[in-house]
Symmetry: C2
Subunit: 408 residues, 2 copies
């Protein structure tokens, strides 16, 4: 008998019918002899409905009250799911984040979990109950309701799994696992049986939106065995592992990409200490997140400096950079918001040379010009013109034979 | 400076616009120099929406989970109202029933308040905050969410006023006070400046649905000064007083009526000890509430027994009575579900003779046949055919000159 934490997102509990289906799934897990703690999100659409109510009153609603408001979404789901379990003769009990003492800091709308008191949960599990917990929410030390920010239900599930030392934390979602790349772009994309935490972090932050980054980080930190499965189809999903656990790693696990990039370059900046800060300081102060950063030596004691931002921040970043350029006496500012980032991710890269050259060769064969390159231990990212996204991803998926299961 | 508890029901907070209006009202109270605790219901329609969700899953949803579900309705309102106050620069903080430690028993869906910890509220009030509390809900000793049953927000307001020793508990509603009778039936019906607790209890239980009975009882028990006012118009409303406070009481305060009555009679029951229990026991076991009960001596050592029930329970009660009649060897069962009850209410009755005969005479003059009579210290109720309801109420309103303010 194992203890599993199962998490179902908004789409999986988006209607009464789906909630009933989740109840059936939970009962099947119980019948297989496992103890279950289930974490649920708000029914899809509900959180947006609540946010619209808040914004009908105020453009900037008070964050504490915002949390009081939106946390009702999950509270509705836990009650309905518990009712559905009761109807089927399955003993179940629901808890809000406050009730189960998911203690967070007081950073309303983006709180972080500090501690979980698992005594109440253990007592219920010992009594054979399915425990239904509201995701995404907690309480601070003063008893104020807090929320973890969008997607925080994944984090709740992982945190509960860590606190309860669960055998596995299963994230049910509308995809049946993590793929080598987006199947909508590459038809031969293959579901991975497992992926390492590090790769998953790179995949998630690079735009494969299967799991919340914070949840993955949390799972890595607390050694939680995490699995992504489909709510709607049976299947083993993808297990997210610690590198040490896996046998031989494939060189490349997947190809992530991000359509929402924009690139800004300041050319001919006098090369002096502190110049990077002078350029990026004002960008950071404007709350613009910078992704890739590249600095190159230019001509005549000057330097060229390029960075990418989210496409939504492009206009704001360009205005700031133009101002900074004048202050620094730089030669020119260029910018391009029709670019994308494609990244090869794989822990096997560490021990395999020649990955980068294979990548660049494959792109060159297709006539794709590379605008920027950035590398880390387990990924290589390139920036290319937006129009080459699909072509580039497919070429790379082919050349690394990702449609085939790795031989282990 | 006074401390007032103000309660706004579902219609008063039924839209964003109305919530904003309530915020304005609260700020006016603050500007008048008063401290305010405000209790709100769910936005009108919201509780029904939640109940429909529950019933889409189960005809008999688990009561604990039902409370988890429906309590979200008020939680949404407290957050929105607090946001509306913040937007206007008014410091405010919201609390659920759990957060403010409204301790109840564990009778889910109809819990009773046992205790309130007012320390948190007092601290907020001392800091100049408007405190916004979710009505209708609390928590039991184990931290489970409970609800007080429909209309329980009035009870929350009164209980908070009692705990905080507030100067006044103001119930804002869609009527501007308590009337001598329903103005839709009698055009000359007059708003009462004050009414005693006892009269209010009789008026409420007899069908003048201005306030919840339990809230009025609670106010009486804890000496809370209670006032009913309109959410939509300015005005003094009706103050509900202890009899001792008021000067001379008018003989009759008002005329209540109840359209939803049905009458059942069992004739020729052998007159022996325990017969009332034999008749009413099975009715009570079927969860049917009995209102008036009359027993008369019949012919030949038999007795006739009549009682009234809510019209919705008529068929069920009739079936039970027919069965019981056979068991008891009674002569006959008769029944009528086209009857209504009209009641004169007034504490002055105690010291005034002749009220009953004036009443009966007025009804007789209109040719209205009285089917049943029941009296208590401060009320006289008659049952008449449904078709005479309006005629009867108007005749009584006229004969007791209720359209005129009493001379004190």
């Amino acid at each position: 008998m194992a203890l599993v934490v199962q998490k179902f997102g908004g789409t999986s509990v988006g209607s009464i019918e789906r909630i009933e289906q989740v109840a059936e799934k939970l009962i099947a897990t119980r019948k297989a002899g496992h103890d279950v703690v289930v974490v649920v999100s708000a029914m899809s659409g509900e959180t947006n409905r609540l946010i619209e109510l808040a914004h009908a009153i105020s453009e900037h609603p008070d964050p504490r009250e915002y949390d009081v408001l939106v946390s009702t979404g999950e509270q509705v789901t836990i009650a309905l799911l518990s009712m559905a379990l009761h109807k089927r003769g399955c003993d179940a009990v629901s808890y809000t984040g406050s009730q189960v003492h998911i203690l967070t800091d007081s950073a309303h709308t983006k709180a972080r979990i500090l501690d979980i008191d698992d005594s109440r949960l253990r007592r219920d599990l010992d009594n054979g109950r399915v425990v239904v917990v509201a995701g995404f929410q907690g309480r601070d030390e003063h008893g104020n309701i807090t929320t973890l920010g969008r997607g925080g239900s994944d984090t709740t599930a992982v945190a509960l799994a860590a606190a309860l030392k669960a055998d596995e934390c299963q994230i049910f979602t509308d995809v049946d696992g993590v793929y080598t790349t987006d199947p909508r772009v590459v038809q031969t994309a293959r579901r991975l049986d497992c992926i390492t935490f590090e790769e998953m972090l790179e995949m998630a932050s690079l735009g494969s939106k299967v799991l919340q980054i914070r949840a993955v980080e949390f799972a890595g930190k607390y050694n939680v065995r995490l699995r992504v499965l489909s709510s709607f189809e049976d299947g083993p999903g993808t297990l997210i592992t610690f590198e040490e656990e896996t046998m031989e790693n494939p060189v490349i696990s997947g190809i992530a990409f991000n359509r929402d990039e924009a690139k800004l370059t300041i050319l001919g900046v006098p090369d002096q200490p502190g110049v990077a800060y002078q350029i990026l300081g004002p960008i950071g102060e404007a709350n613009i997140e910078v992704d890739m950063i590249i600095q190159n030596v230019g001509a005549d004691d000057t330097t060229d400096f390029t960075f990418t931002v989210h496409r939504n921040d492009f206009d704001k970043a360009l205005a700031i950079l133009t101002r900074v350029s004048g202050e620094l006496g730089a030669r020119e500012v260029t910018a391009d918001n029709a670019i994308v980032k494609i990244s090869l991710v794989g822990v096997g890269m560490r021990s395999h040379a020649g990955i980068a050259s294979t990548m660049f060769e494959a792109l060159a064969k297709e006539g794709i010009n590379i605008r920027m390159i950035a590398t880390s231990e387990i990924k290589i990212s390139v920036v290319v013109d937006e129009k080459y996204l699909e072509l580039g991803v497919r070429a790379l998926h082919d050349v690394f034979k990702l449609e085939q299961s790795p031989v282990v």
